[in-house]
């Protein structure tokens, strides 16, 4: 029963990952032979068990430090802002309800129905050098710096694409906190801030962690948004990996970068597993 999906996963995901990994440590023969012949600066293992020369190349390249910094800053800031917005809307919806929170939730779901490439263009034309945003300020005689081709534009775009899922998750997390648990805290003498800090946030922590992991991994590996809106150099890894693979014809180095990003994402994934473990512990399953 489970064999067909395992085979599909093995052939289409497992095998390419394996090949890429072996290419990154210098295995240039076999199925990696063609790419090794076409690509530039491919480092072979020269009879040794493996070589980390390609990793050394990438790390020594000054572009790498810049890209890493850009990617981490954008991912971190976008994740924090997405968390702040989604927790804010979720709390408003749970504690106050009413029209404002419904409108905010509805609005925040809009990006779900707009393809990323279209929204990227929309943001580009809005925040670009001759975009609506600058035009409006210009008509009042104010020369506002353009936002596109900066990290800020990538952050704005990342928030735009990540917010709908985040709001859905966090809102449902807060909604599932029973009224009685909030009222019990109120009855015990807790102020609203204390209730949020000691009861609501801990009880919605698992959806919040899921949002944090998915958002940060999503932004970390994003391509379309930084490609349209981001700076040329340094840029995000999603764009840089593509540049290395196509424009610079350095497939081995692009694979190495992909593995470095993968390692970073794995670290985030561990927090996700921990969150699941914690939830199991709380409900007495572990």
């Amino acid at each position: 029963m489970a064999l067909p999906p395992i085979l599909v996963l093995g052939i289409f995901i497992g095998l390419p990952i394996g090949l890429a990994f072996f290419l990154s440590i210098g295995y240039t023969g076999g199925l990696n032979e063609v790419i090794s012949i076409i690509g530039q600066d491919v480092r072979g293992r020269d009879g040794k068990l493996f070589t980390l020369q390609a990793y050394k190349d990438v790390i020594a390249d000054p572009r790498f430090a810049g890209d890493l910094k850009t990617t981490l800053i954008v991912s971190f800031v976008a994740t924090i802002l997405v968390l702040i917005f989604s927790i804010g809307v979720g709390l408003l919806q749970r504690l106050r309800g009413g029209k404002l929170s419904s409108i905010l939730t509805g609005l925040s779901l809009t990006p779900l129905f707009i393809p990323v490439v279209i929204s990227s263009w929309a943001l580009y034309t809005f925040y670009g050098s001759a975009g609506l945003y600058r035009t409006i300020f210009n008509s009042f005689g104010l020369d506002i710096p353009q936002i596109t081709s900066t990290m800020l534009a990538v952050i704005i775009g990342s928030i735009w694409t990540s917010l709908p899922f985040a709001i859905l998750m966090v809102t449902s997390g807060f909604q599932s906190v029973p009224n009685a648990l909030i009222e019990a805290a109120q009855d015990a003498g807790a102020s609203l801030i204390t209730i949020i800090r000691t009861v609501m946030l801990p009880l919605a922590l698992i959806p919040i962690i899921i949002v944090a992991t998915f958002t940060s991994i999503g932004v970390l590996g994003s391509f379309t948004i930084p490609y349209f809106l981001g700076p040329n150099q340094p840029t995000m890894f999603g764009v840089e990996i593509t540049n290395f693979f196509t424009a610079y014809n350095r497939p081995q180095q692009s694979v190495v970068m992909a593995f470095i990003v993968f390692a970073a994402a794995s670290g985030i994934a561990i927090s996700y597993i921990w969150a699941n473990f914690r939830s199991a512990k709380e409900s007495g399953r572990v």
Partner: protein
């Protein structure tokens, strides 16, 4: 009537509208200090709404709530000198038993040593010290109930509010926990209001019971008074078992009439021999009810049920049935007992 100077609870002319419907209308109640009072009634009669107004979760449209002599009508639950035990206990699943109980003291910014001491004392009181590091999901329903009680008691409130605290426990445990609650309440002398729809529970642990119907208090008396002299037909029906017959009652016999005659089954006696006031009767059905039998009797003037615990007759037996006490109601109000 005012006990604004006293230390208990007083509700004056409470009115509450929810979803366009009047839930509570002109409700008045005085609970003395140290007294345990039940709000008893069927689902939807407004008892929980009343309790929530006492706790501060609902603000009444009109009327006043006095707790320990202070007007608290407009004060939120976090500032009221009351503590509530919720129906599903409402324990925070991410905190241990100790942290759940310590929470009210922590938000009051008490010192660590003081918190430790008071939580230990109250956990000893409810016999849960061995579970102080457990999470709510790891202990039984009865233990969770005691944690909820400990969390309320640790606040040393002027008034303890219990919202159907036993409804999630099985029958045996319910009896044990209600006795524990009563014992604790007596020992601490804490004013307590308990909401329940279980008359057994109310009758066995309350000093006084307020029977509620449709947002009003039908009768507020001691359990004995409530059982012996229910002031309205509704209360008579709600508390205990009742034979309800329409007619006119005179000297143990029922004739045509428009009064409602309420007769407790334990006030109906069947015997083979005729006694003054008894009427010829046949046994139609005998139902065992554990420690007693419910005997269905057909008299010439009415069909009645009797509770019998010894010399149980059989279906088809002929004899005589007499009534030793009857409650006579006109327009739903008690007019006399005979």
């Amino acid at each position: 009537m005012a006990n604004q100077n006293g230390q208990g609870l007083e509700l004056v002319g409470l009115r509450k509208i929810l979803g366009g419907r009047v839930i509570i209308d002109d409700l008045n109640l005085v609970v003395n200090k140290g007294e345990m009072v039940s709000l008893l009634g069927p689902s939807g009669c407004g008892k929980t709404t009343t309790l929530r107004m006492i706790a501060g979760f609902l603000i009444p449209e009109s009327g006043k709530v006095f707790l320990a002599g202070k007007d608290v009508t407009e004060i939120g639950p976090e500032k009221r000198p009351s503590a509530m035990v919720f129906q599903n206990y409402a324990l925070w699943p991410h905190m241990t038993v100790f942290k759940n109980v310590a929470y009210p003291l922590k938000v009051r910014k008490m010192s660590k040593s003081e918190i430790e001491k008071r939580v230990h004392d109250v956990l000893e009181l409810v016999n849960l010290m061995h579970h102080k590091d457990s999470r709510p999901a790891q202990i039984s329903g009865g233990e969770q109930q005691r944690v909820a009680l400990a969390r309320a008691l640790v606040q040393e409130p002027d008034i303890l509010l219990l919202d159907e605290p036993l409804s999630n426990l099985d029958a045996k445990l319910r009896v044990k926990v209600r006795e524990d609650i009563r014992e604790l309440q007596r020992r601490l002398g804490i004013t307590t209001v308990i909401v329940t729809h279980d008359q057994d529970e109310a009758l066995s642990i309350s000093d006084r019971i307020a029977v509620m119907n449709d947002g009003r208090i039908e009768q507020f008396s001691t359990p004995q008074e409530l059982y012996d002299a229910p002031q309205t037909e509704y209360v008579a029906n709600f508390i205990g078992s009742l034979n309800r017959v329409t007619g006119s009652y005179e000297n143990g016999a029922i004739s045509a009439g428009s009064d409602v005659i309420g007769i407790r089954p334990e006030d109906v006696f069947f015997s083979k021999n005729q006694v003054p006031g008894s009427v010829a009767a046949t046994v139609t059905l005998v139902v065992p009810r554990g420690h007693f039998y419910e005997v269905y009797l057909k008299r010439n003037d009415a069909e009645l049920r009797a509770f019998v615990s010894s010399e149980v007759p059989k279906a088809g037996d002929a004899g005589f049935a007499n009534i030793t006490k009857a409650l006579i109601y006109r327009d739903g109000k008690l007019v006399r007992t005979a």
